[in-house]
Symmetry: D4
Subunit: 166 residues, 8 copies
């Protein structure tokens, strides 16, 4: 078992169906990660400890997902200078607009790299983490090109199946 | 000088013109307070220390104001079981909707008592804090009645000056 | 049966599934309450009478929930200097944004302590009410610490069950 | 001086620049009105008394303007079965969306006839009030046709001045 | 069969489940009405003809409901000086915000009395129409008082059934 | 088989249920089209090639549908001076507001003709394309009049079935 | 003087600073147009007559700009099968969101080609109109390529002036 | 002069006052960059060429800023597997909500790391880029700690100056 390079952290176990999309992508790239729960509000000390541990153990990127007043990514970012990626989760009646603004509108000095809402965002968070790690890992950079080529083929495949001419 | 009963905390000195409306109201009620700056993201340790200090020194209510992804009130609330009042500040191009949602949409377990945006909210935060303290302070409760009577007179005064009949 | 310390009031019986989350939390803290219905618009006199009764009978905090143009919390606040907590309810096609803005954007002078939308908000309203009462009740303050410790354990428990390492 | 047929009521004297647009339109139609201030929150008793007085003194329509959590039109409507017209006023950083939703989203049973935001709305509130009164006043109905013809001529006049052909 | 006093008009038959709430209220007040379909965009001539007919046949108030870019109430208002009540219908993915703004934000000169979104709005449109007609019909005015008393009793009834004390 | 005059392009095969509404309308007008998939982000080269091919093969109008950060219509427009019609698709939790703003708010110089969200928009995109082509095709212009007459009859038919008089 | 090919129509003379951006673009392409005022609500008959005249006199495309509840483009489209381009104008406190939704969310059957808000939109409306006319005018198609090349050069020019290397 | 490690690209020279905040931050960290203009829509070929050049010349991170339908960051991301950071710019009447949604809501497969609106976002984009580069550059990682310490001191300094006790 390799040392985790990515920490995936979510505010509640109800966020798991969204956040495991990130884990699946990392599995596909064979990038080792650890995934856990910490609440910015109910367990602030646990959150800080997890982040400090991650820094010490060689984690490169932290992916944090949360809904409502989604403070987790920002709180994580306040405890580290590692890149933090925030995934807004649609967990209230406001369609995730609350989570999106709570994550993306970070004040100057402490950035959070925000991706799209929900499962699309969780996938993109993982790809972004891989892109960041690929800057110092040529094998990973090559895998990214393969991943993109595969997406391209999938689109072309679907296009062949759908193409309709009147 | 009396021991402060209210801690007013803001994310940045640019929030001062808004937050000093709260201080003025407390001055009017002769409720002792301390007002300072702490950033949830740039100074998380300082924020936690201020909150713990406030708890120990007998503060009753914490008023926290912030703009953008306004995490300060929620982060304060994560460190205390004192009532926390959040003032959303209009400090970005999104008209304060970002701050409002970041403050009010707290997940279950850790409430933040949210008031209106900007100066109106800062005033109301102070009145709400006084209302809370008045539950155990009859003199303060009486002052609140006087405050309300005064507001009523002001409305009636203005009505007399404005009244127009065609 | 103890004298109620909290009045829970809602605009319509359709709000009950949301507002009874507040009642459950108060049950958990053994804080006596009374829960009833009053409409700001259909029964303005009843609303005022309930509030005046609550003041006289020693109620400490009023929790008011409403949807759409949710005037109930503000109307309640206009009749008392007790702290009023407003719970916006998602009861129209606008996802509760109407209720949220109608409750939180109170003009200066008459605050309403607004919490998050729907069931999360009803829970938080009750916790906030307990936090306010705990300022003069050490046993309650201790229970709050226990409540928070329990939430923390629940998060850690869930984290243990979910933790996944690639 | 004729008995007022319209009561114009506003939440604060800061709303006067908007609401006097309604008065000007009524002056144009020679419809007698009275214009005053009452706050739904700071002076609930005064608000109720004004409405009851209006009913007794033969007022036909009440026009109420307010900003922020604009409860005034709804509170007025809760005290009368006269038609109530609500003018949302842009008086906060949220561009009047708060006032609009607080006025228009009335629950079933107690309608408020809502018009557009700000000065346009104040003008339209007065015209709507005249349209309502014209149902039992043929002279007024005739004036309305004249008013519309005049608007039409103004558009045509402006069209003549602007018309440009390349 | 009495001559209709209210014209209810909707943009599409898919709006019927909403708009028949207005018809039911009018039935309750025994106010004669006619209900039909006309599209502002697909049948502009029919819309104009219906409005002109309504004026001639003694209709007092026109209630128009529409969704999406809901132009019907405004187009109706452009052809008459009768009071026009607009019901925004939630008929697109934007939750009716499109219909609400398209109806309420009428430019100065041509008002539309806008009510709340959907079924609540349709009910309120009918009550508002009755309130307008009651200005010249004392029997109707009395019925309105009865209607309001009944609503009040219903709230009190529900309150008795729900009342819970811990 | 005639040479296609319209290219319908969508970002993903999940957009097909929406976009085939455009195809059905074109079938009704017997306007030849080709419908395919290309992603602005996953297959930028394919997108450009499709557009250049379309230009060469005599396509008159391109209809492009996409959801989320819907860049496809704008990217298509960047590669051609043919008229491009954009259909925003409701494919995220934000109700299509993201797609709508991403398509309609094109900077000066490169227009996209934006239509309504979802299936209504796809239908209208096709009608708009036919309206554009009808400028040089009198038979098509005549068909458009027939199409509009048919819509009118449908409304009148529905009106006859629904008409209700109390 | 050539026969106008484009009709530019606006709801009010206050829209002129926005809409003359469209005229300037058409001047640049030497496309003849006529620009005038008509209000959908204040002058519905004038609006219809202008549209019918335009059809008869050989106009190809109608550009209609309006703010608030911007019905003008939709009303114009209800009277013609010519392509109609709608320019939403930011003329109220709601930042033009009201105009945008009122124009773009047309129900199925009657499209309006909507462009971006304000001056950018007015420019793009004119370019879109030229793109439509260029389908049957090779000289115009060539001018469009020149226009695009010029925009490209301007970007490159600005890039040369701005380019900064640390 | 060192080889640039960051490419800063903006859609228009009007974005310079925002984007040079990113340049200043990079100057502070002595990270070499190049800053230029390219429009996703007016110069798609130039945009692609710049991105491909950047990849070849060893650029690590691309920062792209744009307003309105802000496609530039997404279009850049479609041409590279380097990490792309998007800065939404408030350049229209919609307060930047259009730019924010156009940048952050990228479909699955092609992430853009989105930061806050305007100057705060430009600063944070640069800090995020430095955080990414610091993963393979210990000196830079150390500078980041210094940068954060300095921000902390600034907050404490301001707190000392502001601290007020009643």
């Amino acid at each position: 078992m390799k040392k985790p390079k990515i920490l995936i952290i979510m505010g509640s176990d109800s966020d798991l169906p969204v956040m495991e999309e990130a884990a699946k992508v990392l599995d596909g790239f064979a990038v080792p990660y650890v995934m856990t729960i910490a609440s910015a509000h109910r367990t602030p000390a646990r959150t800080e400890a997890l982040v400090k541990d991650a820094e010490r153990s060689g984690v490169n990127v932290i992916i944090a997902g949360a809904g409502m007043a989604a403070h987790l990514p920002g709180v994580v970012a306040s405890h580290t200078t590692l890149p933090v990626i925030g995934v807004p989760i649609d967990a209230s009646s406001l369609n995730g607009l609350d989570a999106l603004l709570s994550i993306v509108q970070m004040p100057p000095g402490i950035p959070v790299a925000t991706v799209s809402l929900g499962k699309s965002g969780a996938k993109n968070a993982a790809i972004l983490a891989v892109q960041i790690m690929a800057l110092k890992d040529k094998a990973l950079a090559k895998k990214l090109l393969g991943h993109r080529a595969k997406m391209q083929e999938e689109v072309e495949d679907k296009a062949r199946r759908l193409k309709r001419k009147s």
